[in-house]
Symmetry: C2
Subunit: 713 residues, 2 copies
């Protein structure tokens, strides 16, 4: 039995939580509190779906008004049900929810789906009621989906715990796609769009207000569910970042691609999301980083979300980047070549012997990849198969797109094509092939039945293929476990640290900083300068003045003791003349000469996902170019190097016209070490900017020339 396998797989992983959710996702018995014989009512729909779409378990309608509904015994109260209940659906006004949830608890119900609105989403009053739900759930160990949710369904099992109208006309199609959405309306839209394209789902779950079960729980469940190969999720925001990351990790361990659509990418959208969910939604850039670090494909449009999910459920990842294009239109062939190349594919030339084969079949064919079969495909029935077979047999290609124009509108001829494509899929199972054609509904169904993935638009096919490439590349990588092994001591430090204290803190961990010393008196300055070589830099330190340049607190290129004394006094005077600024001292610093590139290394603590490490060009370029690379800390040196390479401007560190390359290894080490430091202190550092970090020629290391750390307290 499939469900049993699921349980076994789960046991190996995390016994408690998942066994808990199994009752909700795979119930053997269902109670509907507020059940109705009217299939148009909220309490009538789930009952009608369960009865009409083949649920085999026990169903207990609960409603004091009836003794029997649709041939089933109706109980007046959940407490009257003597058998065990895996899921109770509460389809009642919000005022009746708490009372009935308590009854469920007493009955021993394992999980509850609450449709009712009027909780967290309506403001403070509702939030208080929602807290009661949370408390009962915790106290009795019941898992709760909702409130204010559309519910869920499991197509294989025939379990429909939803009042959604999206399935009222037809029984849903099944597939290996599990879909969890934080918005019922969004989920319904995607479901319907998928239905139109004959794409089904294993599970559909709308999480509503997430009083208990949240999107991460659902992903975690689907990650080990044997009926699910691909996980699609719609996200507005999460409370527990690490829980989400762990769910993604579990999916990866089980080789299941995850596709996410997260809204709130702009400030305008984030504001809208906050007003929609009533919660903090977190920085979108950080989400983006988490997705990419977790190998989650982030879709930005609904079409892309569905296309990538669908293709991932149908095809393996390509083993490389070499793409072949078969097209009935030279123009679309060029477009496909462009779009594949833009997305990291190569289009290797057709091998000469293959070209000859193709020419022998059709002299007017364009035999160079992208391969133009011309419209002759309609007149020579074997042409398509002969072409694909010859080309893919060459071993020169990892993937293919087959563009058939509007052939999908011709029902008779498309059947033959579909058979060809099915055979080619079977013959080359490791070469993912996507067909592109405008389809009629009948043709679309025929493609589904043959298991041949089809997309209506060429660009959308390329995007999906690129996603498959990403999945493949991510899965082939081994991520070094990075364990921060520092023992950071922040004793005595608080608030905004000056450059001096910031760098002193970093020096504890052997991070390379400029040669420098803090002095508070002129006499001390004269003594200290003796140990330095000219030229020098003098900087005025005050915890209240962090942007030193703006206040004229940096003196460069000091070449004599006399000049140094003058500048000492000038800088000191500036600080003393600044209201509320305390004088920490004057920092005497070597002035770094010669050739180097200025980089930025920094960190930011995200309230949801924790410490993120950031790399970019130094100086003002970090702000001007917005060309940054970010990771959740800590990162290994390897990952740090990737961060550097990811920058659009990474070439500034490369060898260039006789100039030597910069010391990228030393920079990678610095980034990794720094990331371990911030991961160690996690909560305590809000933000750190090392800017600039001077990167010298290969073998000559790096130096933090300036730095600022902001502590939490």
């Amino acid at each position: 039995m499939m469900q049993m396998k699921g349980v076994l797989a789960i046991v190996t992983n995390e016994v408690l939580t998942l066994n808990n959710l199994d009752a909700l996702f795979n119930p053997k018995s269902i109670a509907i509190i507020g059940a109705s014989p009217d299939s148009k009512k909220i309490g009538g729909r789930p009952l009608s779906y369960l009865q009409n779409y083949g649920y085999k378990g026990d169903v207990y309608p609960i409603n004091p008004k009836y003794d029997e509904i649709n041939g089933l015994t109706c109980f007046h109260d959940i407490l009257s049900v003597e058998n065990s209940v895996d899921v109770a659906i509460i389809a009642l006004p919000s005022s009746a929810v708490i009372e009935n949830l308590e009854k469920c608890a007493k009955q021993g119900v394992k999980s509850v789906v609450i449709f009712s609105a009027g909780f967290g989403e309506i403001g403070q009053e509702g939030e208080l009621e929602q807290q009661k739900i949370v408390q009962i759930a915790k106290q009795y160990g019941i898992r709760v989906l909702g409130p204010n949710c559309l519910g869920l369904f499991n197509v294989q099992l025939g379990f429909y715990g939803t009042f959604s109208t999206i399935i009222e006309d037809e029984k849903p199609l099944d597939s290996k796609i599990g879909f969890v959405s934080q918005s019922g309306a969004f989920g319904s839209h995607v479901f319907t769009l998928a239905r139109q394209q004959n794409i089904g789902f294993s599970y559909f779950i709308a999480t509503g207000n997430e009083a208990d079960v949240d999107v991460a729980d659902c992903i975690e469940y689907l990650a080990t569910d044997p009926n699910t190969d691909v996980i699609a999720c719609y996200i507005e925001g999460v409370k527990d970042g690490n829980k989400l990351i762990n769910a993604f990790k579990l999916a990866k361990e089980n080789n299941k691609p995850v596709i996410a659509l997260k809204v709130g990418t702009t400030e305008v959208g984030m504001k809208a999301a906050m007003s929609h969910t009533g919660s903090i939604v977190g920085s979108d850039a950080v989400f983006d980083t988490v997705f990419s670090q977790s190998g989650v494909y982030r879709a930005t449009t609904i079409d892309e979300f569905l296309d990538v999910t669908y293709v991932a459920s149908q095809l393996p990842s390509p083993k490389g980047n070499r793409a072949a294009v078969f097209t009935i239109s030279g123009g679309v062939g060029i477009m496909l070549a462009d779009q594949l190349a833009e997305r990291g594919f190569t289009l290797p030339e057709t091998p000469d012997d293959v070209k000859e084969k193709l020419k022998a079949i059709l002299p007017i064919a364009g035999t160079q990849n992208p391969i133009d079969t011309t419209a002759q495909i309609s007149y020579i029935p074997t042409l398509l198969e002969d072409f694909i077979d010859a080309v893919l047999s060459s071993g020169s290609y990892d993937t293919a797109i087959v563009f058939l124009g509007f052939a999908g509108l011709k029902h008779d001829s498309i059947k033959e094509r579909i058979e060809t494509l099915r055979r080619m899929k079977d013959k080359f199972p490791h070469i993912p092939q996507i067909t592109v054609t405008i389809n009629s509904p009948q043709s679309s169904l025929a493609f589904r039945e043959a298991g041949v993935p089809v997309i209506q638009d060429p660009t959308r096919a390329v995007i999906a293929l690129r996603a498959m490439k990403d999945f493949g590349e991510f899965n082939s990588r081994n991520f070094e476990q990075v364990i921060p092994n520092f023992n950071a001591d922040l004793t005595g430090l608080n608030g905004d640290l000056t450059e001096y204290t910031s760098k002193k803190f970093l020096q504890q961990f052997d991070l390379p900083i400029t040669n420098e010393q803090l002095v508070t008196t002129e006499q001390e300055a004269i003594e200290v300068i003796k140990d330095f070589q000219y030229p020098l830099v003098l900087k005025g330190m005050s915890p209240q003045i962090l942007h030193k340049t703006d206040k004229g607190l940096v003196s460069l290129n000091i070449t004599s003791e006399e000049q140094a004394i003058e500048e000492f006094n000038k800088l000191k005077a500036i600080i003393e003349a600044t209201p509320n600024a305390t004088f920490e001292g004057i920092l005497i610093q070597e002035m770094i000469k010669g050739d180097f590139t200025e980089m930025f290394v920094g960190s930011k603590r995200d309230p949801i996902f924790g410490q993120m490490v950031i790399v970019g060009l130094g100086g003002i370029y970090i702000e001007v170019l917005k060309d940054i690379s970010m990771r959740k800390a800590p990162v290994s040196r390897e990952q740090a190097k990737e961060m550097i390479e990811e920058l659009s401007a990474s070439q500034v560190l490369q060898a260039y016209r006789g100039k030597k390359a910069r010391d990228i290894d030393a920079l990678s080490k610095l980034i990794s070490d720094f990331s371990k430091v911030i991961a160690t202190v996690e909560e305590d550092i809000l933000e750190a900017d090392l800017n600039p970090v001077m990167v010298f020629d290969e073998g000559h290391g790096v130096k933090i020339a300036d730095g600022l750390i902001t502590l939490k307290n």
Copy 2:
């Protein structure tokens, strides 16, 4: 009569060319050479379409095998037709084309459509045959469409000069969209996709090999055609850049949006395009510049191409950037907010009084823009209209998107919605509104009949709206006519110019260069140095060594005569030791101190579009960041300023944390002046790099610190 109007409008513009094309686009009489009674044959299709889809003019089938076809007298030869023939269609094997074209010429036929393949597209032999076509066309003043083309049609007139199967099942729908494609298969695909969405065309033209009539001719024709409001074109490459630019200009003068899809964006794609068209396709970046400077919207996907074209044929441009969103799904509302904001729209908050109105209608509504009507829209029939009316009446919005989910699948209820949307379109004609819903074919037709623009996917609607905004903004701008008034003298110059000769050339036009002087002997150097202030720069000049730094030919920071003499001899020795390098001299140059930003100003001569001027960050950043801005030269100061502002890194020139802004005015003047110089010499300069151009603080000007010009000869 509509056609007459067209002719009148044309007469005002360019009498000869367009009157010439009018016979091809609006023929009063048509001969089909190679006509067949079999409607499945290439010579049978046009006849069948003309007869079945209501062409009212004269039709002359030509075929020696028949005396009569489908009730029409069949002539054995075009010369037997005594009446005037506007268009002759040649549907014969390639071998018979020239002979029949000559006969057409003798008969006095005004224009010819050649379906036959086997010309330029098959290589040199075919190209020779094609040249014969060109020659006959020129000699007799006949306009020729093709060869190797699918032909054209004019839906209003019922003229079908095509053998395409795309119209065999149904008569095409009409609209105000004129569509010209350099690829028949691509055109057919787009036509069919449009048909599926109930989108029609005024004209469909496939230009094939473009022996005579090319894509620019067609755009020019459509630009003044009274049945066409919007022009869509698919482009692989053009031979005459200025002709294309002039066609775009004419479209703009007639307020007709032009939407282009051009393939060959990558090297891979360009290679494919060259092998497809057999011609030089030109730099894609230059095409991009030409499109944007001409106000042409460049689509990158087929969906986008069709969506933007369709919406432009239905709606005016928004008068501003303020967008309202109405949505039945909070989640999609957030997504729309994100995507609108990413594309330059604002989402102003709903005015308080409007919010109150909405709350009164539906207390649970999300009244903040994006406005969430919730699913209640299905239960309260007046809700949608009341909401839209209240919000748009406020005067706070310039455009709106209405997201209805999958409402378009419910045929009964959608009719009511469509009526609402039609009323809102009529009531707010200057506020373009796009509806988004998944549609059934019937609903799609109902939207078409009501004139309410509808798109299936929210992102696609946003993209279309953004295009409309672009059209509006472009049309509201007045472009200063820039006339290069320089008299450039390149006498005595050839090949690669050194920095010295390059800058001398530029100095003629008062472009600001560094203070510098060329010397050839040590003695001369000593004399010249007296007029300079230290520190100095010395640079070795040789026309054979253009990358001076690579060869050690730049000595910086020279502070004494002694040092200067030493460097003079060192640099001279390097040049003398370099094989094949001639010694032009040593350039003595002021060393620019102080604070400045290094920029790049350059030019490149495109073989198709001519001189382009380019701006970017200076030094190695131009290559590293690939952040450039390009225009066809010449540009005004105003346009030059736009180029600067367009750079992602333009902020480096702005005031920043106490630093002053750089002299953007002086830089703009330099760019504009430089662009006039290169526009003047047009053919003679292949490439020029002014790098770096030092930009000082506001009011302190700019200086060209280094420069290299490559001449054609």
